[in-house]
């Protein structure tokens, strides 16, 4: 995509959001959302410059958004639908690159931010969720933010599906199990459904949660509780 710089972050107005939705559904042309028309968008006070370009990974994109947010907390802004929709729109070539002249945007929750309280869908947004994870967990979210921003990814889906998973110590465990620092990649089998996989970690976490208060346990303590099927990943 051609890089485009903006002096601040912006948020779409209700009118802009309506047009954005129609564009993403393919019933309005992309050019109709003029990014200099104040009827459609307004600057978000307290934010800094942002460059819309091809980001190599979800982590790189999340770091850029956090930098533009400056002192503003992405958690406080999680329900600013207009902000996340604007980011999605200006990053559309990075998130939903055209193929054969056609842009496939996929499931709505990937591009239209669900209410942040919707724990079943909110984590699927391709800009907001990486930003929240990066802001909360920093390097402990490395394993969740691997790969292109356009890909939600099985590991992120599995390891953010339960509210209690968004705990730094639990994510430290997951990072230790599945992430390879040297190659910035996953271990083989992590995204599968076999023994010791991320999917299994979610299941086992639920079982352990009935007996242990893992919210306040260190990553080392949690690792010790895991059954032998995780040995191959330790």
């Amino acid at each position: 995509m051609t890089p485009q710089s903006y002096a601040t972050l912006y948020q779409l107005t209700p009118q802009g959001l309506e047009l954005f939705t129609r564009i993403m559904h393919g019933s309005a042309p992309e050019e109709s959302l003029a990014l200099n028309d104040r009827a459609f968008l307004e600057p978000l006070p307290g934010t800094g410059p942002f460059e819309a370009r091809d980001y190599g990974s979800a982590r790189e994109l999340a770091a850029a958004v956090c930098k533009s947010l400056r002192e503003r907390s992405p958690h406080e802004l999680a329900d600013r639908t207009g902000l996340w929709a604007w980011l999605t729109f200006v990053l559309r070539d990075c998130l939903f690159a055209k193929s054969g002249g056609i842009r496939k945007v996929g499931e709505m929750h990937r591009w239209y931010p669900s209410p942040p309280g919707d724990y079943q869908k909110a984590q699927r947004h391709l800009v907001r969720m990486p930003t929240l994870l990066y802001a909360s967990l920093a390097e402990d979210a490395d394993h969740l933010l691997l790969g292109k921003p356009s890909v939600h990814g099985e590991l992120r889906e599995q390891l953010t599906a339960q509210q209690d998973m968004l705990n730094r110590n639990f994510q430290k465990v997951a990072r230790q199990l599945y992430y390879v620092d040297a190659t910035d990649s996953f271990k083989r089998g992590a995204a599968g459904s076999g023994g010791g996989s991320a999917r299994r970690l979610g299941t086992i976490r639920k079982q352990l949660d009935v007996t242990w208060d893992m919210t306040d346990m260190s990553a080392g303590q949690i690792l010790k509780l895991l059954p032998p099927e995780f040995d191959a990943y330790r």
């Binding site: 907390s73 329900d79 724990y119 968004l166 306040d216």
Partner: protein, 245 residues
């Protein structure tokens, strides 16, 4: 005769055994937790840790209220402040085996004491810079928050100004949420059924379209217009604001 056997040793604690309040004290938010059931102190060791888990908008915070023997009542909540977090109280061993869960409540959503019930609920909170805000969650009735700095904030729920300028957007947003989360293969949540029931009373015989975005948008515009017409909301708003030429 049936016997229930607990395999884990964990005791299910009633939410009513605790009184939790989230209060603003100056710039800080403070959680106040009071045990209202004396059995809890009798049934667990005094060095057991009392923790409160708060979850909202993909953020988790654990507040530590000391131990049952030497408890704290007030604990600062790290910023940014929580509004209506999901809460769970957990009592865990502090001595070996450390972290063993002795008792826990189910999770519940914290709501400030002034929430008004109905299919659309109203509450006040610090939502600056906004004056009102709609909060939608998968399993609970929608809540409209008014900023607490607004004089007599909760009375705005029935003000002709709110009904004319904000409520139509609230209705549209609630139904858009229902539309996006409805398909033929699964049952709707209870609160969604109440809203669908309300729409069927408003425009009988016209069911909410499923799966067709354009048909849905036409339907919801018709619903809002009917609502405004039935309650003569424009006339009330003009009476409040004054008639122009």
């Amino acid at each position: 005769m049936r016997r229930s056997i607990r395999l884990t040793g964990r005791v299910q604690l009633a939410v009513s055994s605790f009184d939790l309040q989230l209060r603003d004290v100056g710039d800080r938010q403070v959680a106040t937790l009071v045990l209202t059931d004396p059995d809890i102190q009798r049934n667990f060791p005094p060095d057991a840790a009392v923790r409160l888990k708060l979850v909202e908008n993909k953020r988790v915070e654990i507040l530590r209220f000391g131990t049952l023997g030497q408890g704290k009542i007030d604990v600062d909540v790290p910023s940014p402040r929580f509004q209506a977090p999901s809460c769970q109280i957990r009592i865990a061993r502090n001595s070996a085996p450390e972290g063993l869960l002795l008792g826990s409540t189910t999770s519940w959503t914290y709501k400030a004491g002034d929430v008004q019930d109905g299919i659309l609920q109203f509450a006040t909170d610090d939502i600056h810079p906004r004056i009102w805000k709609l909060d939608l969650r998968p399993k609970e009735f929608p809540i409209v928050y008014f900023d607490q700095k607004l004089a007599n904030a909760i009375t705005w729920a029935t003000s002709p100004i709110f009904l004319a300028f904000a409520l139509p957007e609230v209705i549209r947003e609630v139904f858009r949420y229902i539309f996006r989360n409805t398909d033929a293969s699964r049952e709707s949540e209870d609160w969604m059924k109440h809203w669908i029931g309300w729409s069927e009373n408003m425009i009988p015989g016209t069911a909410m379209p499923i799966g067709d975005e354009d048909a849905f948008e036409d339907w919801v515009i018709g619903l809002v217009d009917t609502f405004l017409q039935k309650h003569d909301i424009a006339r009330h708003a003009i009476a409040e604001l004054g008639e122009g030429s």
